[in-house]
Subunit: 152 residues, 2 copies
C-alpha cells in the first residue's frame, strides 16, 4: 500500500460523488460526530437535520469538520476532510438557498422525515420534525489516498 | 423505515464488531474528524496513530467522540456514538496497556506502518513513524438503528 495526498481538485471530486459523510461539531471543546447525507456544490456542502444537539451546538459554535471516505478494501481507500463553518438557511435571508438545498436533498429528506414522523408519533416527547436546512461553507479541504503497491 | 434507540448492550456489541470508526477531537472549538482502526474492549477503545495533528490536539484536549456505523442500505443502518477521553499509553505508567494495545492491533498496525514508511521515505520532512498507542476511556454510548418497516 502506498499513501499520497489528493489534489484540491481530487478532494472536491470525492466530495461531489459521495452521498454520505460524517459531520463533527464541538461545544466547550467536546466534539460530537454523526453520519449525514450531504450534497456538495462548490464551495458548500448542503445538509438538513431536525432540531437537536448538533443544530444547537452549531448555532453556538459554527466551526465544523466534514469527513468522507471510500474504503473498498484495507489497502485501497480515500479520505477527504473539509473544514468550514455552519450557515443555517433561515428565511428571509436565505430563502433561495433553502429552496435550493431542499431540491438537492428532496428525495432523501422526504423519506427520512417520514421515518422520523413514525418514530416521534410514538414518542412521549414533543419533538418537532420540521427539517432545518443548512450548509457548510468550506474553508479548506485535504485528502489522502491509499493504493496497493504498483498501482497509480 | 422505523428508527429506534439501541440499548447500552447493543451499542457495545456494535463497537466490538466494527473494525473502523471515526474519531473526532477538538481544539479551540474547532472539531477534526478522521477514520480510524479501532479495537473495543469494555470500557475502552484502543487505537494507534503516528504523531500529527490529532495526537497534538488530544494531548491538549482529551475530550473525544467516536462514531461507528453499519449502512447496508439507506433504510437499514445502525450508528453508535461513544463519548470519552484520550489516554496515551506511554511508558512506564501504561507499559502493560501499551503491550496489550499493540497485540490487539498488531496485524493492522504493522501493515499500516510499512505503508507510512514508504510514504515518508519519499518525504522531505523529518516525520517520525513511531506509532503512538492510545485508548479512549468511554464515558457514555448511545445508538440508533433503522429498519425497513415491518421488521424488528
Amino acid at each position: 500500500m502506498v499513501i499520497h495526498e489528493l489534489t484540491q481538485e481530487e478532494c472536491r471530486e470525492r466530495l461531489a460523488r459521495t452521498p454520505f459523510g460524517r459531520l463533527a461539531c464541538a461545544l466547550e471543546n467536546q466534539p460530537y460526530v454523526v453520519p449525514v447525507r450531504i450534497a456538495y456544490e462548490p464551495n458548500y456542502i448542503y445538509m438538513f437535520s431536525t432540531a437537536g444537539q448538533k443544530i444547537e451546538w452549531m448555532r453556538e459554535n459554527p466551526k465544523v469538520c466534514i469527513q468522507v471516505d471510500e474504503i473498498p478494501s484495507e489497502s485501497q481507500w480515500t479520505s477527504v476532510i473539509a473544514i468550514g463553518h455552519y450557515q443555517e438557511l433561515a428565511e428571509p435571508r436565505y430563502t433561495a438557498e433553502k429552496a435550493h438545498a431542499r431540491e438537492l436533498l428532496e428525495k432523501y429528506s422526504r423519506w427520512w422525515l417520514t421515518a422520523l414522523a413514525v418514530r416521534r408519533e410514538k414518542s412521549t416527547r414533543d419533538l418537532s420534525i420540521e427539517p432545518i436546512f443548512f450548509r457548510i461553507e468550506i474553508d479548506s479541504v485535504t485528502g489522502l489516498q491509499a493504493l496497493p503497491e504498483g498501482e497509480k
